[in-house]
């Protein structure tokens, strides 16, 4: 039994099967990126043990079951180690092969290690701003901030796992206990004021539609005008069909015919009204946010007043806002906005509920004479030193929008080591400092236009960052050795004896 397992793990066939499985996995994982986005593919295919279902070229394939990156990688690692233990023999002709495989072991192990220990965060600075913390995107924390003496702040931070668990949170530094009533990955906070404004706009627009189709005399000229916009024309055609017209290609002619019959003309007007109203409401709904809220309410026939809109919480910003839950987004370009509803209790009685969201700023909570600010924000890690952005450079090539150069001149101020020095971070040239690496992020044109003078640094903590370098050198040396060994052999053989 043991023997056959050993044989299985040392066999070359297993290597080949695993390599084949890896090729298919990488291929599928690449094509699927078009549908699922890079992050989700990483989670579902490469840093996972198995893959269940996929979508290739827009075709859903729920039957696709395949070993994931973790499984293939670990098996390859075991296979490699076992095969070497079994077959290892010391000779110059095998040295290259051993080195190559050793290097691959280092690479695989390094990748696995960095999967496990690597942490990515970022630091966003405006020119002249000093930063003493880094933030992790896609990982919100619940923060309670109170002022201490002088410049200092006291922060109680609740990590995302704890928020997600719900229940009650207490801390000796907090004058209240926190009960998480609701927590979700994405939701839009819509202020009531904006929703009311949107409602006014929609009501006006709908009234215009109603007015437009109130007099039968207007029908023919309206149809003529509609001929100019294909989108409107289609609505007219649909309306004509709905009142039983067969020939709808020439809209103006048909409308002229219908307008001659008063009864059908009014029918047509009703049809047009309904259809254009529907179109308007759908247009508002599609825009999301306050537009969607207003459109949904109006479509349901409800009136919109500050009182009729549901409040997300009883206190704070949520008292004047409605929450629209959204599905979490997975692709790279759009963000999710997590939110939570908290109930705060002090002295055995409830202070009310608060809505916190990454869309909202810090909100003050008054308990006795103490003020605590509460916020849901990207998880922060404070650094024992500060980094000040002195100057951000974003250059494009003259006469084009192609980015040429992104760099940041920063000042590191470390009170412990008494360091106070300037340095430069640019693309392809990161700053490695205190176990962290700071990389210049290349902003898109839109981002750079929106925030001039801003610089985003990606911050990575990866203690295993050197492993790929070592692995690569080992493999290259091994392959080169083997290659030269063969070449020498080949040339010797060709030399006439």
């Amino acid at each position: 039994m043991n023997r056959s397992i050993w044989k299985f793990f040392t066999s070359l066939r297993l290597t080949i099967v695993l390599l084949g499985a890896a090729i298919i996995l990488v291929f599928v994982g690449t094509v699927a990126q078009a549908d699922e986005g890079l992050y989700q593919v990483q989670d579902r295919y490469f840093t996972h043990w198995y893959v269940l279902g996929t979508t290739l070229w827009g075709v859903k394939m729920p039957w696709f079951i395949w070993p994931g990156g973790r499984l293939v990688g670990s098996l390859l690692l075991v296979n490699l180690l076992a095969a070497h233990i079994k077959r290892f023999q010391w000779s110059t002709s095998k040295l290259g092969i051993h080195l190559t495989h050793l290097g691959i072991i280092i690479l695989l192990a390094g990748q696995l290690a960095s999967d496990l220990v690597k942490k990515e965060s970022h630091m966003t600075l405006n020119e002249g701003q000093t930063g003493d913390y880094i933030e992790r995107a896609r990982s919100p924390e619940l923060a309670f901030i109170s002022d201490k003496s002088g410049q200092e702040e006291q922060v109680v931070a609740v990590p995302p796992e704890l928020i997600a668990k719900g229940g009650t949170i207490t801390d000796p530094n907090l004058p209240f206990t926190v009960r998480v009533k609701e927590y979700a990955g994405n939701g839009e906070v819509v202020s009531h004021q904006k929703a009311l404004e949107a409602a006014v706009r929609l009501t006006t627009a709908l009234a215009t539609v109603d007015g437009e189709f109130s007099t039968p005399a207007g029908l023919v000229p309206q149809a003529e005008r509609a001929e100019e916009t294909p989108g409107r024309l289609n609505v007219w055609r649909a309306a004509l069909e709905a009142i039983g017209e067969k020939e709808v290609q020439d809209v103006t002619a048909t409308v002229k015919k219908v307008a001659a019959q008063p009864e059908r003309a009014s029918k047509l007007q009703t049809e047009l009204k309904t259809r254009f109203r529907e179109q308007m409401i759908n247009g508002f709904t599609a825009q999301g946010g306050e537009m969607r809220l207003a459109a949904e309410k109006i479509a349901a026939g409800e009136s919109i007043t500050a009182e009729s809109l549901p409040a997300a919480s009883s206190q704070g910003a949520g008292a004047h806002a409605t929450l629209l839950p959204l599905p979490e987004v997975k692709d790279m370009d759009t963000r999710s906005f997590p939110y939570a509803v908290l109930e705060l209790e002090a002295g055995g009685k409830s202070l009310g509920t608060w809505l916190v969201s990454t869309m909202l700023r810090e909100q003050p909570v008054q308990v006795g004479d103490k003020t605590v600010r509460v916020a849901l924000r990207e998880e922060r890690q404070y650094l024992p030193y500060t980094i000040k952005l002195l100057h951000a450079t974003h250059k494009v090539y003259p006469g084009s929008d192609t980015p040429k150069d992104f760099r940041s001149r920063v000042l590191i101020d470390n009170p412990v080591s008494k360091e106070n020095r300037e340095t430069e971070i640019s693309m392809n040239d990161p700053l490695r400092y205190s176990g962290l690496a700071f990389y210049q992020y290349q902003m898109t044109k839109d981002e750079a236009d929106r925030a001039p003078g801003q610089s985003v640094l990606q911050v990575v903590r990866n203690p295993s960052w050197l492993m790929p370098y070592i692995g690569c050198i080992t493999v290259a040396a091994g392959m080169l050795w083997q290659f030269l060994h063969h070449l020498v052999g080949f040339i010797n053989k060709r030399r006439p004896a």
């Binding site: 490469f46 003259p398 192609t402 040429k404």
Partner: protein, 652 residues
């Protein structure tokens, strides 16, 4: 077939272009083409802009003014610069030239264009004057496609619409890039503006201050300003900026030689309106333009020389680079290399019919391929000099680099085995890659500037070059496999000895390919670690590279484990072609977005056809041996070795 035909046509066109240019002594077209400008952030000669524009408009580097005539009827074909001069300086005539190529029938119908060959039309090429009446329709359709149809859902018609709109917009931009498009005598008009400038500015100031002012002077300068502003509008059109269409910078800095100080003509004129010292180049170009319009060749030539003289010294670097690039454009090295490769291929194939008697043919083929390699190498090095960068910076240059690497490998194989297999493989890959390069050059300026993240010569020189060598060698192995299957199945040429030596070649090359693709891939990872902080990010291009490594490793292990033998190895090598073509091209097609136009779609089908062919070959390669014409079964008798079949390496 169509490719070959069109390439042949290009050749004919290029040939007749040279003949034409010799006769054309009136205007110093070439001198004008050598004037330096800045476009897409890159210093270049007007000639390059003219050629690249024509490539985008009609897929050729020359303009055919009478496309309805057959080639033997000698249609009037002019050089890119000559056509460009009309666009820049006499757009009223330029508007009559049929330079927009439209193939999609629905698009022609939309714009009410003639569908078939007829009087003074070939039903494919149209002038701006023919398109202009329906320009609004085109814009409306473009807006629809752009706003309503996501880029991956666009059909052929949608893409044709966007392509044509893009071409017409580029054309409009160029018409405004040297003088106002409605100028009649630009020199006089510019002079009038200059003369009135001070008075006009005074009048404007006076009007603002509420004091009496010279109304005539104010009206004049206001008219000029609105004219110049309308030129600038072509640079700011938001929709076009999304497609990265910007007006080229024709006006060099008035002092110094910093690239960032180059200006658009409209920009320089607006500065003059606002009180800045007018840039002297404006006047030079105005003289050139008016002389051209007045058909005054000596005046034009003198003005061009005077402008060049005014740039000499301060902008020597720009002038020198521009002249070099014009020479490079004119030489068409990659095109020549492709032709030579095809000749080498034909010689090598013919040699196979009578291998023993026609040894001389093999030698000719080898020398021809060597010549092709030298020409390609010259082209690659010339490009490196022009851009001051390592050989591979984009997809285009990776194609030319594979076209250099593969035949070198082929020649090395040939030196050992002397059976013309190396020549065939090398020349086929070289010719195919150069054809691919030709089509890629239709997309955009191939000497483009690099985005910030790619702007590092060290990694370009190591990672990119090594990965590309990996592609080249995997292709060589794959094409060796193809030769085995085709010759083995359809002819009697493959003996067991030859099979063995083919397998040895493939084995060696796959080892080589593994080394290169592995080292290249890992270097790419290190580069990513240096610039983004992650060694591996699973992005499509990285995945493509790792798949080649994994595939090569799989083949080698299958061979070592005895799971495949010689025929299996050769068949697996053909699979390598699919893998490599997908990594090289397929990964660029995943997120077909804003920046992919025409070619990538056509390339998608070409890639599919290539892969299907490979699959067919693999199936043939796996058919039972008794169906093969070559006697591969059993051991061939020793006596067959007496004839030099090229199966074993010949002593050098």
């Amino acid at each position: 077939m169509k490719t070959w035909l069109s390439l042949l046509l290009t050749f004919v066109c290029a040939g007749s272009l040279f003949a034409q240019e010799a006769k054309e002594e009136k205007f110093a077209v070439e001198e004008f083409g050598k004037l330096p400008i800045l476009n897409g952030g890159r210093r270049q000669p007007i000639d390059s802009l003219a050629r690249n524009t024509l490539l985008q408009l009609r897929g050729k580097q020359t303009a055919n003014y009478e496309p309805w005539k057959d080639w033997y009827a000698k249609p009037k074909i002019v050089s890119a610069t000559e056509w460009f001069m009309e666009v820049l300086m006499n757009p009223a005539v330029g508007d009559t030239r049929p330079v927009f190529r439209i193939d999609h029938p629905d698009l022609k119908a939309l714009l009410a264009l003639p569908m078939e060959k007829g009087f003074e039309t070939d039903g494919k090429h149209f002038s701006w004057n023919q398109l202009q009446p329906k320009a609004d329709t085109l814009l409306k359709e473009t807006m629809r496609v752009f706003n309503e149809v996501p880029s991956d859902k666009r059909n052929q018609f949608d893409k044709a619409v966007i392509n044509l709109w893009r071409a017409t917009f580029i054309y409009q931009q160029l018409k405004t890039s040297l003088q106002p498009p409605d100028a009649r005598d630009w020199q006089a008009e510019l002079q009038a503006f200059m003369d009135n400038r001070e008075a006009g500015r005074e009048a404007a100031k006076a009007k603002q201050a509420g004091t009496p002012f010279n109304e005539a002077a104010l009206n004049l300068i206001m008219d000029d300003a609105s004219r110049f502003l309308s030129m600038e509008r072509y640079d700011e059109f938001e929709f076009a900026r999304k497609m990265e269409l910007r007006v080229p910078l024709f006006i060099p800095p008035a002092t110094g030689n910093i690239d960032n100080d180059w200006q658009r003509t409209g920009q320089a004129l607006m500065e003059a309106v606002q009180g800045g010292t007018p840039n002297p180049a404006l006047a030079h170009y105005a003289v050139i333009g008016s002389a051209f319009r007045a058909n005054d060749a000596p005046g034009f030539n003198n003005a061009v020389a005077a402008y060049r003289a005014s740039l000499a010294g301060r902008l020597d670097a720009n002038l020198g680079e521009a002249s070099k690039e014009v020479l490079f454009n004119k030489l068409q090295l990659f095109y020549t290399a492709m032709m030579i490769s095809i000749c080498a291929f034909l010689c090598a194939i013919v040699y196979w019919f009578r291998p023993v008697d026609w040894e001389i043919l093999r030698k000719i083929a080898a020398c021809t391929l060597l010549a092709a390699v030298l020409v390609t190498a010259t082209g690659v090095i010339f490009r490196m000099i022009l851009i001051g960068r390592p050989p591979v910076i984009n997809l285009y240059s990776s194609a030319t680099f594979i076209a250099l690497g593969a035949p070198v490998l082929g020649l090395i194989l040939e030196a050992f085995w002397r059976n013309s297999i190396g020549i065939v493989v090398g020349s086929v890959i070289s010719a195919l890659c150069l054809i691919v390069a030709h089509y890629l050059s239709l997309e955009k300026d191939t000497l483009e500037m690099l985005r910030a993240v790619l702007d590092t010569n060290f990694w370009l020189a190591t990672h990119v070059v090594i990965v590309t060598l990996g592609y080249a060698s995997t292709f060589v192995a794959g094409f060796l496999g193809i030769i085995f299957v085709v010759r083995g199945f359809f002819t009697q040429a493959i003996t067991p000895e030859l099979k063995r030596s083919l397998a040895r070649m493939v084995y060696g090359i796959i080892c080589f390919a593994t080394l290169f693709s592995f080292v290249g891939t890992v270097l790419g990872g290190i580069w990513a670690d240096q610039s983004w902080g992650r060694f591996w990010g699973w992005d499509p291009k990285e995945n493509g590279a790792i798949i080649i490594v994994l595939w090569n490793a799989l083949v080698l292990h299958a061979r070592w484990g005895g799971i495949v033998r010689e025929r299996g190895l050769l068949n697996l090598a053909i699979v390598g072609n699919i893998v490599t073509s997908w990594s090289w091209f397929g990964t660029n097609m995943l997120g077909i977005g804003l920046h992919s136009y025409g070619f990538m779609d056509a390339a998608f089908y070409a890639l599919l056809a290539f892969d299907v062919t490979m699959v067919a070959l693999i199936i043939i390669g796996a058919l039972p041996l008794h169906l093969w014409r070559s006697p591969l079964e059993g051991r061939a008798s020793k006596s067959s070795k007496s004839a030099p079949t090229g199966a074993e390496p010949q002593p050098a």
